[in-house]
Subunit: 229 residues, 2 copies
Amino acid sequence: MYAQTLDTANTITDPNYEPWTEISSNDQHVHELDMNDPLFCEGDDASFIYEVLDGVLSNYRLLADGRRQVISFAYPGDLVGLGGETHHYNCDAISSVRVRSIPRTSLLSAARECPELGHKLFQMATSELADMQDSYVMLGRKSAVEKIASFLLGLARRYEKDGMDVIAFDLPMTRSDIADFLGLTIETVSRNFTKLRMAGVIDLPQSSKVVVRDMLKLEELSEEDGSTF
Amino acid sequence: MYAQTLDTANTITDPNYEPWTEISSNDQHVHELDMNDPLFCEGDDASFIYEVLDGVLSNYRLLADGRRQVISFAYPGDLVGLGGETHHYNCDAISSVRVRSIPRTSLLSAARECPELGHKLFQMATSELADMQDSYVMLGRKSAVEKIASFLLGLARRYEKDGMDVIAFDLPMTRSDIADFLGLTIETVSRNFTKLRMAGVIDLPQSSKVVVRDMLKLEELSEEDGSTF
DNA sequence: CGTGAGGTTGATCGCTTTCAACGGAGGTGG
DNA sequence: CCACCTCCGTTGAAAGCGATCAACCTCACG
C-alpha cells in the first residue's frame, strides 16, 4: 500500500491538468539518463510508469535474430510503460533524458479513487492506439518516400503541438532509429532524404536538422487519407 | 443522461465478469449484420461502442488512392469502436455478425461510477495496444512467409483461448483481407500458403480451412522474439 | 592531426509486386 | 440437369523497389 495525498480541488478545469502529479510526491522520483541508456527492457516487471520531462526515448522490440522494430518515440509529456504487469518492449534514451517515475500500483490505485485520473489514463491509452493505427497504415502500405514524408510531417506536428518551429527542427534520432521505425534500412532512409532534398521539399543543413521548404508537397507525398480529426 | 442500474455485488471474483453488461439493458441493442455490411466508417460520430457476440469484423483504413490496411480483426468477446469521439477507421462484417451496441456516453459515465469498469476498459485498451505492438513488429520487419506463419499462429492462439481446435480451423477472412492485414498482395499470400503446404507445415483442405501439420515449424517460421507473456 | 562512428552514395541482388492467364466452387437460368 | 457466369484463389513470367554489399565522406573528439 502506498500513502497518498489526493487533492481533487481545482484541477479538472485546468487545461494543463496532469492528474498523476497528484500522486503523493514521495512516491515519485526524477531520473536522469544519458544517450543510449536503457530505461527498461522487454520482460522487466513494470513496477514503474514514467512521465517524460525532457528528451526523447525510443520504444522498440527485437526479434531473435537481431532485427529491430521501433514501435514509437516518446517525447516530453508522454507516458511510457503503460500496459500490463511486465513491459512488452525495450525503452532507451536516444538523447539526454529526464523522466519522473511513478509506481504502477500507486497509479492504478489512485485511478480507483479518482475517476478523472482513470479517465485520463484511458484517454492516453486510446490516443496512443490512434497514433499506432496511423503508423500501422504507414508501415504496411506506404512506399519509402511516403514513409519518410509521413515521418517528418508527424514530427513537425508533434513539435507544433508544443509551440515549436514547424519549418525548421531537429531530428533527435539517428538514421538507424528512423529506419527501424519505418521498417527500412539506413541506406534507404538516407537515399530518400536526399531525394526529398533534391526535389526541393526539404533542406538538410546538417544531418540532424531539417528545414521544410515545401510543406504542401510534403503533405502530398505523405499520402494521408482525407480525414483530419 | 442515461438511466443506469448498477449492481456491483459479486462480480469481481467472477472470471467471466464483463462489466459493461451492467449498463442498463434498455440502452443496449443487438444488431445483426451480413457479410460485407459496414458497422461504421472513418469519420462517423462514435456514438456507440460494440461488443462482438458472434462472427468476425475487420477494422481498416483506406488511403486516398485506394490502398487498404487492415488494422485488426475483431472476434467474439472483443470490443470495437473504443477510442475518441469519432471513429478513426472503418469497420465491416466479414461474416455474419451479431453485435451488442452500447452508447459511448453511457459507457463512459458508468465507468465514472464504477472503478472496476473503468479499470476493465483501461485494460482492454492496453491489451489492444500490446496486440498492435506485436503486429507492428510483424508488419515492419518480417518476410512474407514469416508474416503468414505469424498470422496463422495468432489465429490459432486466439481460437485456443476460446477452447476451439488449434490444429484445424477456419479462415473467416478472404485472401484479400489477409493481404491487407499483412501488408502484402493476394498473390504473395497465396504463394506463401502454398509454400507452407509444400513444406508440410500446414494443409489446406479448402482455401478457407487450415490444418497445422507441424506446429513447431510454424512457431519457428513466425520468428517470435524469445519472450512469452 | 588521427580515429571512429554515423551518414551518403554506388552497384548489384533478390524478394515482392505487377501483369496476365488459368482453375475451381457456387449460383443462376435455360 | 447442365451450361454458363462470376468471384475467388492459384500459378507463371517479368518488372521494380528496397536490401545488401562495399566504398567513401564528414564531423566530433581525443
